[in-house]
């Protein structure tokens, strides 16, 4: 699949934003290390909202006809893309109520504040899941059609969100050990799931082949002529292929920049805020590479008609 930068930025940015918000709420609810001071909660919350909004705005650049984008909420009952949009929009009012009440500090409204935060967190999770399912529901792409895909979106969003939360927390007087442990725990889960995913897509899998695609099941089938003189929409959108060697190098980069470096920086560098920023930046770079590969390695069954023997 052709990796579109707008979609890559969208999923990395809004994933981190939703993860950051959910963790902000949970650490606030359970008072991790005594809880963050109000200003830092507000900074983290605002950062989350900006990341989500930036992601959604970027996804608009992927549309060939953005003037109809408002219609995207229309098919909530069948389309994960529609659901994602609706849940992302529903997230905002609750998140804003939660942050607003955090700012105003009204003791009588504490229950409302926490309820709004809980609902926003729930919506953040559902939205992340929906984003994963946009890809996970497609039977045409074996590398995407798996529960591992929404699981990856959820865990990577929380891992990057936790790093950003730590970066915000690093500016105050809170003891950071709890936040560092949170990042490391999520890092281990996210990295393990990603490793499982990479092992899973490396296998041949049992999907359609050129034989079932054409119905010539008895003999070998070989493409003689694609019937067009130059590329078409189909070859541009689905024909993208990444060299095996390059994809191995990129996978190594995903793990080194995304997981190993942040883990080393955080365990060795400790509380220094420069170190935390460095960890966040390399992790986000790793995530961009991860998302790029997620598209580049996906092979749509249409390639069978263009000569691929299996997908």
């Amino acid at each position: 699949m052709h990796p579109a930068f707008s979609v890559i930025f969208f999923t990395v940015s809004s994933g981190a934003g939703f993860g950051l918000f959910a963790l902000l709420y949970l650490t606030d609810l359970f008072g991790l290390s005594g809880g963050l001071p109000i200003e830092q909660k507000l900074v983290a919350g605002a950062l989350a909202l900006v990341l989500v909004a930036a992601g959604l705005a970027s996804s608009m650049f992927h549309l060939a006809n953005p003037k109809n984008a408002w219609r995207a909420f229309n098919r909530f009952r069948t389309s994960w893309l529609s659901r994602e949009g609706v849940f992302a929009m529903a997230f905002y009012p609750f998140a804003i109520i939660y942050l607003g009440l955090t700012w105003l500090v009204v003791p009588e409204l504490e229950v409302l504040r926490l309820t709004a935060g809980a609902l926003a967190t729930l919506l953040a999770w559902i939205t992340l899941f929906s984003t994963g399912m946009i890809y996970g529901c497609l039977k045409t792409i074996r590398q995407w059609n798996s529960p591992l895909v929404p699981a990856n979106y959820l865990t990577l969003g929380h891992f990057t969100g936790a790093l950003l939360l730590l970066a915000v927390a690093g500016h105050g007087s809170v003891v950071l050990t709890g936040y560092v442990s949170l990042v490391l725990a999520l890092l281990v889960v996210a990295a393990s799931l990603k490793a499982i995913y990479y092992f899973w897509i490396a296998g041949p899998g049992a999907g359609p082949t050129i034989k079932t695609a054409t119905g010539f099941t008895r003999g070998t089938v070989r493409l003689l002529d694609t019937g067009h003189t130059h590329g078409t929409f189909l070859t541009q959108e689905f024909g993208f292929q990444v060299a095996r060697q390059f994809s191995l190098v990129l996978k190594a980069f995903v793990f080194v920049a995304g997981f190993v470096m942040p883990a080393l920086i955080l365990t060795l560098g400790g509380d220094v805020s420069v170190a935390i920023y460095a960890a966040a930046v390399t992790a986000l770079l790793g995530m961009v590479a991860e998302r790029w590969l997620f598209f580049a390695e996906a092979r749509h069954v249409i390639n069978l008609y263009h000569g691929a023997q299996h997908c």
Binding site: M1, R71, A72, N74, T214, G219, D225, H230
Partner: protein
């Protein structure tokens, strides 16, 4: 009603006439225009509803070239419709034709990802998704004679490799030919239940090329004439 095409792979000669007729008719049809990019340039490309590919099946000397036209299959369980967030993609309840409402499409490409058959192509000029309409604006046109109320590709095919009809009706010509010739669907394992069917290549007796026997008197004369007359 479940309108669709039946394509006889034994008969298709790969002349691309159906694709041209489709482009011609639909360039002024409900989803028009069908943009061409650089038509006279170095990298000509454009939007087509119907594409013909050729495959070699089997090993020499039992190999065969098979021409393989593909357009929208108007699937029963069309994921292209369920994934569309705007409601632009829809399947008509009355005849099963799958269409894209050009006024609603936002050009997200999602439906093309969901289609296993490559039936949908984005028109970069209009920013909307285009696909085979089964010539919906022709097959219902009361102004044209009854026998011409068929998709442009079916009407134009010089080899009569294409048939059009109601695959829901077991007595229709298309249903009978699918039954008799063992017509099949593409990639049935994905579960889209495409309406269009393909008729397999018939088993042909090999034409003997050895032991043709001695040439007769007529053949001898022909042979001599061929040697004398230089082309």
């Amino acid at each position: 009603m479940r309108l669709g095409l039946v394509i006889d792979l034994d008969v298709c000669v790969g002349c691309h006439a159906c694709a041209i007729a489709c482009k011609e008719w639909n360039a002024s049809g409900t989803t028009a225009p069908l943009t061409d990019y650089q038509p006279y340039g170095a990298e000509p490309s454009g939007v087509w509803f119907n594409r013909i590919r050729s495959y070699e099946v089997g090993e020499y000397p039992n190999n065969k070239t098979i021409n393989f036209p593909m357009s929208c299959m108007h699937c029963e369980d069309a994921d292209c419709v369920t994934v569309c967030p705007t409601g632009a993609s829809y399947k008509r309840a009355e005849d099963g034709i799958v269409l894209v409402d050009q006024n609603k499409c936002m050009g997200c490409n999602y439906c093309s990802w969901a289609c296993p058959y490559g039936a949908r192509e984005l028109d970069r000029e209009s920013g909307t998704m285009k696909k085979c309409t089964l010539c919906v604006d022709r097959i219902y046109d009361q102004q044209i004679p009854m026998e011409e109320r068929q998709p442009a590709c079916v009407l134009t095919c010089p080899a009569h490799a294409r048939m059009f009809g109601d695959l829901d009706d077991p007595n229709s010509a298309v249903s009978s030919v699918v039954r008799e010739r063992g017509g099949y669907q593409l990639m049935p394992e994905l579960g889209y239940n495409p309406t269009n069917h393909y008729l397999p290549v018939r088993k042909a007796k090999p034409i003997p090329t050895e032991n043709l026997g001695k040439p007769g008197f007529k053949d001898k004369i022909k042979g001599i004439a061929n040697r004398i007359v230089k082309r």
